[in-house]
Amino acid sequence: MFVSYKWLQDYVDLSGITPEDLAEKITRSGIEVEGIEVPAEGVENVVIGHVLSCEKHPEADKLNICLVDVGEEEPVQIICGAANVGAGQKVAVAKVGAVLPGNFKIKKAKLRGEASNGMICSLQEIGIEGKLVPKEFAEGIFNFPQDAPVGEDAIEALMLNDSILELGLTPNRADAMSLIGVAYETGAIIDRPVKLPESDYTSTVEKASDVITVEVEAKQENPIYLAKVIKNIKIGPSPQWMQSRLIAAGIRPHNNVVDITNYVLLEYGQPLHAFDLDRLKTNKILVRLAKPGEKIETLDDTVRELLPHHLVITNGEEPVAIAGVMGGANTEVTGATVNVLLESAYFASSSIRQTSKDHGLRSEASSRYEKGVDPIRVELAAERAAQLLALYADGEVLSGTVAFDEQDKSEKQLTIELEKINRVLGMSLKTEEVLDLFRRLQINAHADGETIYVSAPTRRGDLVIEEDLIEEVARLYGYDHIPMTLPVHETNPGGLSVRQQKRRLIRQVLEGAGLMQAVTYSLTNDSKAGEFALDVREPVKLMMPMSEERSNLRLSIVPQLLESVSYNLARQQDSIAFYETGSVFLKEEGHELPKEDEHVAGAITGLWHFHAWQGEKKQADFYVLKGILDSLFERLGVASCIRYEKGNENDLHPGRTAAIYFNDEKIGYVGQVHPSKEKELDLKETYVFEVKLEAVYAYGQAPLQYTAIPRYPSITRDIALVVDREVQGGELERIIKEAGGSLLKSVKLFDLYEGDKMEEGKKSLAFSLNYMDPSRTLIDEEVVKAHDKVLKAVKEEAGADLRG
């Protein structure tokens, strides 16, 4: 909503308050002023000129040589390129030395040999938006009315030296969608009275009801319909001040009739519509719901199909307007219009909202109806428009109004205790103070002791419950005056749940290990949705996606992480390491909501470690990632539950993937992205993991207990075992541990050899075995005995021979 500072002064005295002050006050107490615009800011030296003569430039077809009286001793010669310039016109002239918007300075010039001492301006050139310039002047220079005084300031005549306040209205403040509404608000804030316009005019003996009839079928959707008749109007431009005010409010002027309906809409917030009475043909208005298949051509030259829930104004036969949204072309007021039927109505907001949405049409009218108009103003606005039509369109207003009106216009009665106001706000206001605030709002209120009775005016449809009144008190008294306290109540310890603590630990460990936290989108496309999924199933799909790219909820985090990896690779970032924690969404039979399963995933590629000048270089590989997971499980206290097995996952390298088990439940994988997938995604060798966290979160680990530090030395034996290539190192390690008994404290792989010195199909794995007894020094024989058992077991169970 755009509010002209100057126009607002018609209704409330703003003396002593600058537009900036006003904006600040309004913002602080109720409605955010999003900006203040001065349309002709910095524009100087533009005056009204009289074009005395206008001739074609001998050297240029499109230029005219004009002699213009600008109120100085001598007329000035100006070369003008506008097609619509002509002798006798009153125009806006930027004199030499003038400044136009954008700090454009007008200087003396010569155009094809002819002197040009100034510029004849279009409205756009002096700061008016093109879409607001009246159509007849949209393509050329502007003409003032013939009686415009030569030499006077054109900016002043156009009322552009004004400040326009842009109000950002919240949906509850429909009352401020009019100048009068803003005046009430302003009056309350600065504690000054509001002056309402008066509607005096003389009406004819002939009655409107002699000419037209009004019938409403859809009473639910249309509780009030008023019609007035204005005869013998003269269509022409509306007065300049009215046009300027419309432009300030963001509405393009058309002709006096249309402008007046728009002017009153802005003034009262009540939409009006003027029908060409003669084109209405039947002299009858029937308001009803549309019939199936019915069509109407609206004012924007579009034929629209109507649905049975659309409210239409008809002439008894066919639709002449989509109620509250847009008029029909068949009854449009034109230059030839003589008699007018003026509609002022109250339409139900839900009906208008639906209709406007169905047609994708939002107008000044519909946006007001949607939020609800003041039923009392339906008639006031009609009378005001009649007065203006009599004044500025020479119309003869027929006496009376033809009306259908079944709307309850009584004020809602609210009661509130002073104690409640003070309790909710944490203040100690007195009854008189509260009553005074309502007086400023021009809301009737009285008190009985500390009980306050408020009669909510019809213009304030937002005042429904006690809390609405508390808000009125708070905002007008000023939030600055509310003290600052902290809740006083039974204290509960705050904190993170175990799950939240574990999640933070996961972040800590992974970041400590060198992975960056990424955040990716949950929505993905059809093909990505199923990739890398631990639970392969139909993804959850959106009903109406904005694009195919964001139409499915993810089943795995990895695809989006890989997208982020590709993004970086394409930008010369070669060594990437990401992790992300977040939900994947699993459709579940018999459940309304999908299961949101929290996962952690990661992806690494490129050099893991690079320290060039000392010759250290380590490529990211499977074991880097597995090592990180190991330390993660260690820190989470679940390492003893975790097992890796050779894995076989979609989209992963079949020979370089491990499935991760938590006891017997498969909870994840770690492996290399399948080379064909890497190629498809423009990736280099990339390793990924994804782990479901539910089991980890749920696991209650044993409390930490100290183990005594050993006081006796341990004995280390190294063995190199030759086995078939297929034998898994993890299996060997398991066998060794089992056979080593209680003395064997640790087993560490320290070498793997598969080179050409080995027999075909064999490999050698070297382990370091550490034996110890915490209670005494071991003797060699005991170790030999245990060690022999290990060698025997690996031979028997895995066919392992000691490497010679």
Partner: protein, 347 residues
């Protein structure tokens, strides 16, 4: 003999002095103090001396031997020190060369902001609550005083999965669910962070997915002044002790009265600049007193209980804190962006 001993002492001192290395010094030691050395030689001739002179000469010989030993030891210390010095010289390295890099990851800036806010409110006795991202229409809208047909719940603005299920458009359904779980008994004192989704085309200031963090306190006698005091603590901890706050009236369906909170602009200190668009204030969050309908729907007696709620966007907070200019940065995960947030901030 006496002369000979004195001369030996002198000679030995001379040679010790000339020794340039431990090896040379050792040769001197062997030459003078060894079993075949000149002193031993001299002492062998003691037999020829008189009984009177013998102890005198013996004492003198010992004196000379001790003196030589002493100079040798002294010289040895010097030479050893020189040798260490030399070794250290040889071992010296260029300490300005780069160290072995230790790879570290970083929090995503949104996580940093969220954890900072969480921790602040935990210290004031709040718990962290979470809820589903795919939510029932009831919790996302109806329970929050947005009945069916309300303009703010337009199908065009939300991602629906079925008629009754959608991607939550705010974290407020977590409030509704938490209140419901409390079965009408206070206090409720929670912070709800999480991902939310709206039908917006992604551009510099819009994202179809973003984060929200909300707070809710419900109990008997919770006042608007408590909200203001709480937000004041938040603003000062988060943005600096010298920040001022102001509340402006606003509108949200789930609170009444509703306000927006601004903080005084850090850049210009409230005088007005391009960051605060000349107003001296920067909008941070929305808040208000929980609407009685919301309390009642969640099973709280709105005559007895009151509450306040507030909500904000971590993206915006991070943008203001770090001067980030494009919301898409948060979701493209450009390494060059993420690595900028490795440094821990302390306040």
């Amino acid at each position: 003999m006496e002369e000979r001993l004195k001369q030996l002492q002198f000679e030995a001192a001379e040679r010790v002095n000339l020794s340039g290395s431990l090896k040379e010094l050792n040769e001197v030691r062997v030459a003078y103090l060894g079993k075949k050395g000149p002193i031993t030689e001299v002492l062998k001739g003691m037999g020829k001396l008189s009984a009177e002179e013998r102890p005198k000469m013996g004492a003198l010989a010992n004196e000379v031997r001790d003196a030589i030993t002493k100079v040798i030891e002294e010289k040895q210390l010097t030479l050893e020190a020189e040798a260490i010095e030399k070794k250290l010289q040889e071992e010296s390295i260029d300490v300005t060369l780069p160290g072995r890099p230790v790879r570290t990851g970083t929090h995503h800036p949104l996580t940093s902001v969220i954890e900072e806010i969480e921790d602040l409110f935990i210290s004031m006795g709040y718990k962290i609550e979470e809820g589903p991202e795919v939510e029932k229409d009831y919790y996302n809208f109806e329970a929050l005083n947005l009945p069916k047909g309300h303009p703010a719940r337009d199908m065009q603005d939300s991602f629906y999965i079925t008629e009754d299920i959608l991607l939550r458009t705010h974290t407020s359904p977590v409030q509704a669910r938490t209140m419901e779980r409390h079965q009408g008994k206070g206090p409720v004192k929670i912070i709800c962070p999480g991902k939310v989704y709206r039908r917006d085309n992604d551009d510099a200031t819009h994202s179809h997915q973003f984060m929200q963090i909300e707070g809710l306190v419900v109990d008997e006698n919770i006042r608007m002044s408590d909200l203001k005091g709480t937000l004041n603590v938040f603003a000062k901890k988060m943005f600096g002790e010298d920040r001022e706050i102001r509340l402006r009236p606003s509108f949200f369906p789930f609170t009444e009265p509703s306000v927006e909170m601004d903080i005084s602009c850090k850049i210009c200190g409230g005088k007005g600049c391009s960051v605060c668009k000349g107003t001296g204030w920067i909008e941070i969050l929305g808040a208000g007193m929980v609407h009685p309908n919301v309390l009642e729907m969640a099973g709280f007696d709105s005559k007895k209980y009151t509450g306040f709620a507030f909500g904000m966007g971590p993206e915006r907070i991070a943008m203001l804190k770090y001067g980030i200019d494009d919301i898409r940065h948060y979701y493209t995960n450009d390494h060059r962006f993420l690595t900028q947030f490795g440094q821990k901030e302390f306040n």
